[in-house]
Amino acid sequence: MDSVFDELYNKYHQDVFQFLFYMVRNREQAEDLVQEVYIRVFKSYDRFEGKSSEKTWLFSIARNVAIDYFRKQKGWKDKLMEKFDWSASQVKDSDPIPEEIAVQKEEIQWVYKSMEHCTMDQRAVITLRFIHDLSIAETAQTLGWTESKVKTTQHRSLKLIKRHMETFYVKEGSNSDEKVRVER
């Protein structure tokens, strides 16, 4: 019986799924990629040395799977170019919002939409740090980076999201007289 594998699956597959969901922004795709992650886990878990925690190890595999997925995507270069062309991408709102997000308050929807404009690395950092609540050290371990690189990327991602939030506010929120504030 592959009890270690089963445990890795039972314990973490929801985390892996959620991480992939926010990376690829599509439930069906995330479901397929979870499977790919665990195929890779199955091929290599007997070599897992325990230098990092199981969770960060699984996230690092999930991130690689997501990167491979984007590489295989048709026209990914165009998507990447848009990331550098701010003027072209700032009003872009292509992908439909998943149901889970659509039922949330407006600001959460804006954050989700803003994340689309982040690079893969930026998205991975903010997903791990804030949605999965990993520490700077754990995030660095997952991504194989230094802690200072995680901090810099995090800072840039937050700035980028903030900038897009502004745009959404002007575009969608300015009709309302209410001042948009975060509920604390």
């Binding site: 019986m1 969901f21 195929i39 199955f42 954050v111 903010i126 949605i131 937050l158 975060v182």
Partner: protein, 381 residues
């Protein structure tokens, strides 16, 4: 006006409020989609043996023809070689699908559904008994809870019961139970306190279900022998049919046969103990061969229950020599039902003697297999 209203901290806060997104697929169905779980360690072995055998045949027959004097024979030989080569190719083609059927058609490895000792580690196993959609049967659903720290089993039981996904599992929405469960160290009882406006006393099926589930939940998760009942802190719960009840005696649930229950819209069955207990293990095995009280037969192995023997809590159970045991999901569930039934009669391990197949799913039939800790594993998060 284009002005940012959000600080970095506020954006962080919003990110933390992003919804937790879950994979709603059934873990068993998902696991079945994994194409790899049991890989053949030597995928080249069977085709190689077949090729070697064919080459050997070729040599034997070939030598016979070489011995012949005429050119006609040489011609025949080359023709025969040709046809043999064709046979080899055919053989190779035939062997591959045959090899695949060993590990189940379409390469899916059948999976177990219960929880076994080696999976629990430092976690705790909690079993919840949940009614089916028709309130006919009560289905045990078990989960492993990790990272418990100093919490008692009852704390974990209380905490997790709000997170059960009964509807998703094709069962009735029963939890969380509208009651507080507390362990009273003095009396050694579990005290069950319902609010004054509880509805468990309304209708005979409601009260029966409530009492049975309390009994089974406590029996499966503790060694407590008695539950005391309270309404809003005062002793007793009033039930429509049975009147006021102050306590329930908890008997260990034993000597049942495990059968299958198929919930609506689900392909995989749950393994469910029969309502009535049986006098001995032979009768229980016999009962598994027929549908019973809304449960479906679970014995799909041709066991010879009359020839079974028991030594040191190990059950030795022969099967018909000519029986064809398939390595598929149904057989794995059937074998697990057998293990769970054996556990009901105090067995710790089971050995299938004369098994015509070495492996079914994750179970190695050449060895003794431990009985499960609990049936019907589901994840609760």
């Amino acid at each position: 006006m284009k002005k940012s209203e959000w600080s970095d901290r506020e954006i962080e806060e919003l990110l933390r409020q992003m919804p937790k997104v879950k994979d709603h697929r059934n873990p068993i169905d998902m696991n079945q989609n994994f194409p790899f779980k049991k890989r053949n360690a030597f995928p080249w072995l069977v085709p190689s043996i077949a090729t070697a055998a064919a080459v050997f045949l070729c040599i034997i027959l070939g030598t016979k023809f070489i011995g012949g004097p005429t050119s006609q024979l040489f011609q025949e030989k080359s023709l025969n070689e040709k046809s043999l080569n064709q046979q080899i190719t055919l053989k190779k083609e035939n062997i591959q699908p045959k090899d695949q059927t060993f590990s189940g058609s379409d390469n899916r490895e059948p999976l177990k559904s219960s929880i076994y000792e080696n999976e629990v580690r430092k976690g705790k196993v909690i079993t919840y008994w949940i009614p089916d959609e028709q309130a006919q049967n009560i289905i045990p659903i078990s989960t492993i809870v990790h990272n418990i720290k100093n919490k008692s089993r009852l704390d974990v039981f209380n905490e997790k019961m709000a997170q059960l996904n009964e509807n998703e599992w094709g069962l009735d929405d029963f939890y969380p139970i509208n009651a507080d469960f507390n362990f009273n160290e003095k009396s050694g009882t579990v005290d069950v306190n319902v609010p004054a406006d509880h509805e468990y006393g309304k209708g005979s099926s409601n009260e029966l279900m409530f009492i049975n589930i309390i009994k089974k939940d406590i029996s499966s998760n503790s060694n407590v022998k008695k539950a005391r009942l309270f309404t809003d802190g005062k002793p007793g719960i009033e039930f429509g049919n049975t009147g006021i009840k102050n306590e329930i005696m908890i008997q260990p649930e034993r000597h049942h046969a495990y059968l299958f229950y198929y919930p609506n819209r689900h392909e995989s069955p749950y393994l469910v103990p029969s309502i009535e207990p049986f006098e001995n293990i032979r009768d229980a095995f016999k009962a598994m061969k027929k549908d019973r009280n809304g449960l479906k037969k679970s014995m799909h192995l041709k066991i010879k229950e009359n020839e079974l023997s028991i030594r040191n809590k190990v059950l030795y159970l022969p099967v018909e020599r000519d029986s064809k045991i398939k390595n598929d999901q149904l057989t794995v569930f059937s074998y697990e039902a057998l293990l769970l039934t054996a556990k009901e009669f105090g067995m710790e391990k089971v050995v299938i003697t004369d098994a015509p197949i070495k492996q079914i799913g994750p179970f190695d039939l050449t060895k003794e297999n431990k009985v499960p800790i609990a049936p019907n594993m589901r994840n609760i998060e």
